[in-house]
Symmetry: C2
Subunit: 225 residues, 2 copies
C-alpha cells in the first residue's frame, strides 16, 4: 500500500483544459471567454471556471476585465521580448546549477529529449518536436533542483508555448537549426563547459525571440471569435 494522490479538483481540471485550449491554438489570442459559456460547455458550474480563470490570469494567459469579460492574452512586441529575456535568465541560471548538482541526471534527460526531437524530425512530426523541445528546456530547469525557480519558470513558459503555436504555422520555425542548437547545448554540458552552454542557450532563445518578432509583425491584431 502506498499513499494515493489527491484526485484533481474540478478547478484544476478546468484550468488545464482552458490552458491547453489556449496553448494549442484552439482559442485564439484575444478571444472572449465568458464564465457562463465555458461552464455550459464543460458541463459544470461557474465556480470552478471562475477559479480557473483567476489562476490563468495570474499565469498571464488570460486578462479578466471587471464586469466585461475574460479574454485570452494579447501579447505585444514588448511582452515577447520581456518573456524571452526572463526565460533566458532562468534557463542560464538553471543549467549552471544543474551541471554543478545533477550532472548525470541532466545529461541523461537532455539526451532523452534530443532523441525525441530527432525522431520527430525524421517522421516528420511537428507537434512531437514541439513537445520534445519543451521537455528539453523543462529538464534543464528540473536539474536545478530549485522548486521556486521551477515554479516560476512554469508560470512563465506557457505564454511562450502559446506564442509559438499562434505565430508559427506548422514548420515556420527553423527546426533544423533548432535541433542543432539543442545538440550543441547538450554537448557543452557533456564537456562541463558551463560558459559555452549558457552562451548557446542565450543565442538559442534569442533566435526564438527573433522568430517571434517576425511572426508577430506579420500577424498584428487578431481578435476573432
Amino acid at each position: 500500500m502506498q499513499p494515493i494522490e489527491q484526485p484533481k479538483s474540478l478547478m484544476e481540471v478546468t484550468t488545464g483544459k482552458i490552458r491547453d485550449a489556449i496553448v494549442s491554438g484552439e482559442l485564439s489570442l484575444g478571444s472572449k471567454l465568458s464564465e457562463q459559456r465555458l461552464a455550459d460547455m464543460l458541463g459544470i458550474s461557474r465556480s470552478p471556471v471562475r477559479d480557473a480563470l483567476a489562476a490563468l490570469q495570474i499565469e498571464g494567459l488570460v486578462n479578466v476585465s471587471p464586469k466585461r469579460g475574460s479574454f485570452v492574452f494579447t501579447p505585444d512586441m514588448r511582452d515577447v521580448d520581456e518573456l524571452c529575456e526572463h526565460r533566458t535568465i532562468l534557463e542560464i541560471a538553471a543549467i549552471r546549477m544543474g551541471m554543478d548538482r545533477n550532472y548525470d541526471k541532466l545529461i541523461k534527460s537532455l539526451e532523452e529529449s534530443c532523441d525525441a526531437m530527432q525522431r520527430a524530425l525524421d517522421k516528420p512530426n511537428p507537434k512531437n518536436y514541439s513537445i520534445a523541445d519543451d521537455q528539453f528546456h523543462k529538464f534543464i530547469l528540473d536539474a536545478s533542483g530549485n522548486r521556486s525557480i521551477i515554479k516560476s519558470y512554469n508560470h512563465t513558459i506557457s505564454r511562450a508555448k502559446a506564442l509559438r503555436t499562434h505565430l508559427f504555422t506548422i514548420f515556420d520555425e527553423n527546426t533544423d537549426r533548432s535541433m542543432g542548437e539543442h545538440i550543441q547545448i547538450l554537448e557543452a554540458c557533456r564537456n562541463k563547459d558551463s560558459d559555452l552552454a549558457t552562451t548557446l542557450i542565450a543565442k538559442h532563445i534569442e533566435h526564438l525571440a527573433t522568430a517571434f518578432r517576425i511572426g508577430h509583425s506579420n500577424q498584428p491584431t487578431d481578435t476573432s471569435t
Copy 2:
C-alpha cells in the same frame, strides 16, 4: 478631468489584508485560516475570501488543503535556501539590466532608499528600515524595466518578507552590516562596475540566507493559532 482608476475589488483588498497580516506577523506561520472565519472577521462573504486565498496560495504564502482548511505557509530550510537563490538570480540579472538601460533612474532611486535606511538607523526605527530595505531591492528590479521579471520577483519576495518578520525579533538582523552592504552596492552602481555590484548582491543575500538559517533552526515547528 483624468480617467479614474478602477476601485479595487473586494477580493483584491482582502488579498492585501491577509498578505499584510502574514507578512507583518499578525498571523503566525502555519496558523489556520478558515474561509468562514475570515469572512466573518472582515464582514464580507466567503467568495472574495476564497478568491484571495487562492491567489495567496499561488503566491506561496498560503497552503490550501482540500476539505481541511487553509494554513499560512511553513517554510523549511530548503524553502529558505531556494527562495534566496531565486532572489539572487533575479536581482543580479535586474541590476545588470538596470545599469545598462536606466542608469540615472537606478542611481537616483537607490540613493533615495539608502537615505531612508540611514534615517531609520538614526532614529532608530526597525520597521522603517525594513521598508526602505525592501524598497531598495524593489527599485533594482524596477530599473530592469522587464515587467515579467518584476512580477515574478514580487510573487517571490513576500515570502522572504514574512520570513524576516517571523524569524527576527526586532533587531536580530545585523542592520549595520546590511546598511554598509547597500551603500557598497550603490557605490558599485555609481562606478558602473556591474561585476562588483552583482558580487555584492550575491553576498548580501547570502548573509540574509545565513541569518534565516540560524533563525529557522532556533524556531522549528511553530503551529500556534
